[in-house]
């Protein structure tokens, strides 16, 4: 059987038990990439030679009896906003084209320690700003289920790579939904951990108080395996928390949802969104009931009605500061023939940044500026606090919350790109989770009539990844594992 079709945990087992080699797995995955990538365009850089060399190195260590780790021999792909030492890391931006970081992100070190083989870097919306991966300076990625549609964003490349079967697992980052929404669009699992669970050291910052790195996978077991590897506190990230390394073995074996209370959000009932997604949510709620859960209506008025407005003040504000360092002085694109320092700055950033990035920098600068700070930034911080408290009160009543991941299934390429506001509205169900720093898991519950993946989202309390993994494990038994996108590609 095609090795690229296996889950990560299965690959580890097959290799450990000697039924295949790391090299064979990598070659199978590279073969799949070669077949599908011309149409999907999920990758910014493919590490062909390096991954083959690494696979051979792992095979040699195996041969000498070494344990190569919990992800031993598993090919992975990383969103191209995670620093990989000596290897191009572009953030899908002209301003970092060709830039090679002098260090590895902590998650990269952890994956390497665990025996993973990095196959390459995936496409994204520039600096993780966007919901469709159309804002990349290096081309659009297509949804493997329908090449005329977007894979979602900003981690569209990472999601497409797993959905298309390049690799069983990949890493993305989620600031306002950038893992959960593409997971839903591409029919796979995506997990945004609790803020502070996974180190941000080496993740190129977009919005520091919202960003989190998380896994994509086609099985719940794989999601859990990656979280065990990367969910470790890091002294290099002062916002990373001292929490015990997770052990999901009990959660994965959860039998049913008896005794669990699952919340549904009243304000979403009243929300007008795609009936296909609505149906998918209803199916999920019914499944939860059938598994023994109590469904509890809860109100998250501030989160649903003000979360977006709050996010689109705070995230751009932080981004405007985080992206100020791209000035052509130390690294990255530097404008030629600048006549002064100010000219250097203006030209470099004008040439290097795409429109969406510029839009957000302008917005962010505005809401922080003298005379507007109180009305916008400070006010938004207060609303954020209210959202956190609202969720905290909800989790006194429920163990998790179920809601859509996105108001629609994957939309067509080009459909929303000229309407930034409409694009922003697509984040309404994912943003509040980042505002509150909670974990969120996106999963596939079926296909629409047109063959488009339909996903739903579960939100957990802070440090509630186990709860989410357990619930997803139960759901997986009913809805099945995620599939590699099946449509004719040749």
């Amino acid at each position: 059987m095609d090795l690229y079709r296996l889950s990560a945990c299965d690959i580890v087992r097959e290799i450990k038990e000697g039924r295949c080699s790391c090299l064979e797995v990598v070659q199978s995955c590279l073969g799949r990439v070669d077949d599908v990538e011309p149409e999907v365009h999920a990758m910014i850089s493919l590490w062909r030679d390096q991954s083959i060399a690494r696979a051979k190195e792992l095979d040699a260590r195996l041969a000498s009896g070494e344990d190569i780790g919990p992800l031993g021999g598993v090919p992975v792909i990383l969103k191209d906003n995670m620093c990989t030492s000596g290897q191009e890391t572009t953030c899908a931006s002209e301003i970092l084209k060709g830039w090679k970081p002098p260090y590895d992100a902590t998650v990269v070190e952890l994956l390497k320690e665990a025996g993973a083989v990095i196959l390459g870097k995936a496409n994204l919306d520039e600096f993780a700003m966007g919901g469709s991966t159309e804002n990349s300076a290096f081309g659009v990625t297509s949804n493997p289920w329908d090449l005329e549609r977007v894979p979602g964003g900003s981690s569209g490349g990472s999601a497409a790579a797993v959905s298309a079967g390049y690799v069983p697992i990949s890493l993305g980052s989620d600031t306002g939904g950038s893992i959960r929404q593409p997971a839903a669009f591409c029919g796979i699992y995506g997990l945004k951990p609790t803020y502070g669970r996974v180190s941000r050291y080496g993740l190129v910052a977009f919005a520091s108080s919202l960003d989190q790195i998380g896994p994509f996978a086609r099985t719940v077991e794989d999601l859990a395996r990656v979280m065990e590897v990367i969910g470790v506190s890091d002294p290099k990230d002062s916002t990373s928390q001292e929490v015990d390394r997770s052990d999901f073995s009990v959660a994965l074996r959860r039998a049913d949802l008896k005794g669990k209370k699952i919340g549904i959000i009243e304000e979403i009932d009243a929300y007008d969104y795609d009936p296909r997604v609505k149906k998918a949510l209803e199916d999920t709620v019914k499944a939860c009931r059938d598994e023994g859960a109590d469904i509890v209506p809860i109100s998250l008025k501030t989160a649903i009605e003000y979360g977006m407005a709050c996010y689109y003040i705070l995230a751009p504000a932080e981004a405007s500061s985080n992206l100020a360092r791209y000035d052509g002085v130390r690294y990255g694109h530097s404008a030629k023939d600048a006549s002064s320092v100010v000219d250097l700055y203006l030209k470099t950033r004008r040439e290097g940044f795409g429109d969406e990035v510029k839009r957000r920098i302008l917005t962010g600068t505005y809401v922080l500026s003298a005379g507007f700070y109180d009305a916008y930034y400070l006010k938004a911080q207060k609303v954020r606090k209210a959202i956190k408290e609202e969720f905290a009160r909800a989790f006194e009543k429920v163990d998790s919350i179920v809601l859509p991941a996105s108001p629609t299934p994957a939309f067509k390429i080009g459909e929303l790109i000229d309407d930034p506001m409409a694009m922003y509205m697509a984040d309404v169900f994912t943003i509040p989770v980042n505002m509150a720093g909670l974990p969120g898991l996106s999963m596939n519950v079926g296909l629409s009539q047109e063959g488009l993946p339909l996903g739903v989202q579960f939100i957990g309390p802070r440090w509630g990844e186990e709860e989410l993994i357990g619930t997803a494990a139960v759901m997986e038994r009913r809805f099945g594992k995620a599939e590699i996108a099946h449509r004719e590609v040749k």
């Binding site: 405007s320 100020a324 690294y331």
Partner: protein
Amino acid sequence: MSLTFTTVIGLEIHVQLATKTKLFCGCSTDYIGAVPNTNVCPLCTGQPGTLPVLNERAVELGTRAGLALGCRINKVTRFDRKNYFYPDLPKAYQISEFYVPLAEKGSLTLLGDDGEPHRVGITRLHLEEDAGKLVHGASDGRIVGSTQSFVDYNRSSVPLAEIVSDPDITSPRMAKDYVSTVRQMVRYLGVSDGDMEKGSMRVDANISLKVSDGRWGDRVEIKNMNSLKALERALEYEIERQSGILSDGGRIKQETRNWDDSAGVTSSSRSKEESNDYRYFTEPDLPPLVLSQDFIDDIARSLPELPWEKKARYEVEFALPADDIAVLTEHRELAQFFEDCVSYGSTPSRASNWVRTEVLRVLNEGDGDLATFPIRPKSLSALLKLVEDKKISTTAAKEVFESMIPGVDLDRAMEICGVTAGSLTGDALVGVVRSVIASNEDVVDIIKSGQDKKDKKKKFLQGQIMKEARGQADPKEVSALIDSELSL
């Protein structure tokens, strides 16, 4: 009608904290003389994806300084980002404490212009990271006329404490005194080298004048004063400049001016910081800094006696002249040396003299490091005791002292100098007297012939004998022996 002016000065002092590593990364802070861009890492050069980790020692030192200044230490503080673009600022923001500083509302008491004690309030002390250094290509090193500039990030992210005074300073003399006191304090505390020439202490001044007819001149900021002298001169110049304008009925332009030490004038600066909106917001990459009462108490307990406390105590305990006290207490190590001598039994005045004249002289001739000075207080004290007890003369003691400098102990040094403790008397003295008489036959003849009016020649012999005796003979006994030997 003649106008008079009241001077209102506030000072901002930046001190580089004496930590081994930078404020947010593990790079060395030892940038003086280092090859450019060698004490750097991805963090302090603002590479994408890097995150700050707070240096605890910097917080300790900042707290120390805050407590010494009588400030309240804020138990919960947060860092903030000060955003602006400049090539020496690698992240395009400086991590500082804007909204809630580490310490606030302290004070220093200085000598007022009227001779009475004058309180200068300390508004705040906060931590922040330093920027890199720009070097401009023009021959005079200034930005005007340069076609190229270079940036060195060795200094980037070095920890600073910024100390802001209330506008309570009323004259250039007091400003100098204030800075000098703060400098002495940070050195006493081990918080900073406090070296203005080397740049580990920088001072900016804000100065305005109040006019006797009720007008207020706008505040002017003065930068680039690199010594205490420059500070005083710059402020004196500004007072003249501003009072001139105000006397003519003009208005003071609120601006930043740079002091030019060689030209002796301030000039308007087209500074990067003018009309900048820093868009301060709380640093999301650092959690709140929470200090326990225990942490603060431990540091408070570990504070050494502060320079002004020591001065006051010396006045009462040792009754030494003010100038001498000033010299002794200038440096904590020297003061400690002096106090140790006293505790080993030396009288304060003798110890004071010797420390100020002999010890300090040798230190100034050498590398000035009291820690490696071979003569320890105990040994010096023992030497001084011999002088106290009149067992050796001061002159002899100074010779012995010199011999001890290379690291020789007291007894050996005395041997080398041929000095014996205790008097030269009786037969031993007779021997010396006879030997001197024998070597000075012509002088003896003059005395014997009765031509020694006013005893000049006898005094000469006496002097020679005392010299031979290394001052250890009793002058009266010598005189009597000369008389008896010469049968006078």
